[in-house]
Symmetry: C2
């Protein structure tokens, strides 16, 4: 093609990211060549190398694209301090499960991260960023658990640290298994039930 306008270039960039998201999620990151991404986006490799210096930069941009809405959500939640800490935890996790189950883009990203991407040294920056984002969420929820304990919603013997590690393990594991064998079980229904069970166990 020829030189397009700036908006067109932005659109091309978006198309490339969309295509990468799809193709990576379908065929795996390292098993997908830049040419295949380009083809899926309807352009040539030249377009990719113009917008992204290499595959890792492409992936980084993919991650950056979802980091923004996540951060927004965290800020938004942080602004409205919730009355009931436990309810907030449950609502957040359920909301998260729902997003994974219904939003195809979130689902594709989760699939890439959990099943279509090898964590090797080269992707360390991406991994670190992912872990850092996770860690922020973990801290949020841990604080909520602490609040719940202080307000007597949970017995004081509960360790907020262990509670949050278990909760995140449960959520991640549910999503991991659900993505691995799609349709094996209804994620939202079973997931909410399992999380409810876990939260009840904390109260006992």
């Amino acid at each position: 093609m020829v030189r397009r306008t700036k908006e067109d270039a932005l659109a091309t960039r978006s198309q490339l990211l969309d295509a990468a998201e799809r193709v990576f999620s379908e065929r795996g990151v390292t098993h997908t060549s830049m040419a295949q991404v380009a083809e899926a986006a309807g352009v040539t490799r030249g377009a990719i190398y113009h917008h992204f210096s290499n595959k890792m930069a492409l992936i980084e941009s993919l991650m950056e694209r979802v980091r923004l809405p996540i951060d927004e959500m965290r800020e938004q939640i942080a602004q409205q301090p919730e009355f009931d800490a436990l309810v907030e935890i449950q609502e957040r996790t359920n909301e998260f499960l729902n997003r994974v189950a219904t939003d195809p883009r979130v689902q594709a990203l989760a699939n890439i991260l959990m099943h279509k991407c090898e964590y090797i040294d080269e992707v360390n920056p991406i991994k670190l960023r992912h872990l850092s984002g996770r860690n922020d969420c973990i801290c949020d929820v841990e604080a909520l658990f602490e609040k719940a304990i202080n307000e007597g919603q949970l017995p004081p013997k509960v360790s907020p640290r262990i509670a949050v590690i278990g909760l995140f393990g449960l959520v991640d594991g549910l999503i991991y298994n659900w993505l691995m064998d799609d349709g094996y079980f209804p994620l939202v229904e079973y997931g909410e039930a399992a999380i409810n069970t876990y939260m009840n166990g904390l109260k006992a």
Copy 2:
């Protein structure tokens, strides 16, 4: 080298599998070439291609090597019908966590499966075998949950299906997160606590 005896050949094969396990777990499956596996095993690619037709066959053999002990364990457990279903479930899961945390070979395999291997179409047979093995375990535990419900250890409103999905999600998620950020939390201690919480939640 030269022609060795049959036992030597078997040893070479073992070395190759050991090396593959290590190197795959460290650097990822697709990011590791056959030459690197051979080098780690102290042989050349010729040795690999003599024992395994390609990388997929090598991985399949890796999986086969752990499937045997797992099946043995299942049979062994099946032979001694346990008195207390819930205790058996807990003991099994704790045993599993312990194995992952302490046995470096099990740990390497789990790491490969969860973090160092892209699930693409080509590894479908491996994935299917993995899922089938999982499914057997899931059925075992589901039956145990049913038994626990029938014997009044759990309230009848509990769905054994959902219970087992949640439990496996929890265990897998704990291992997944622990492997992702090694040393982040003590797997056995926190894991047992979280599982205990979950099981208590089922009783409520």
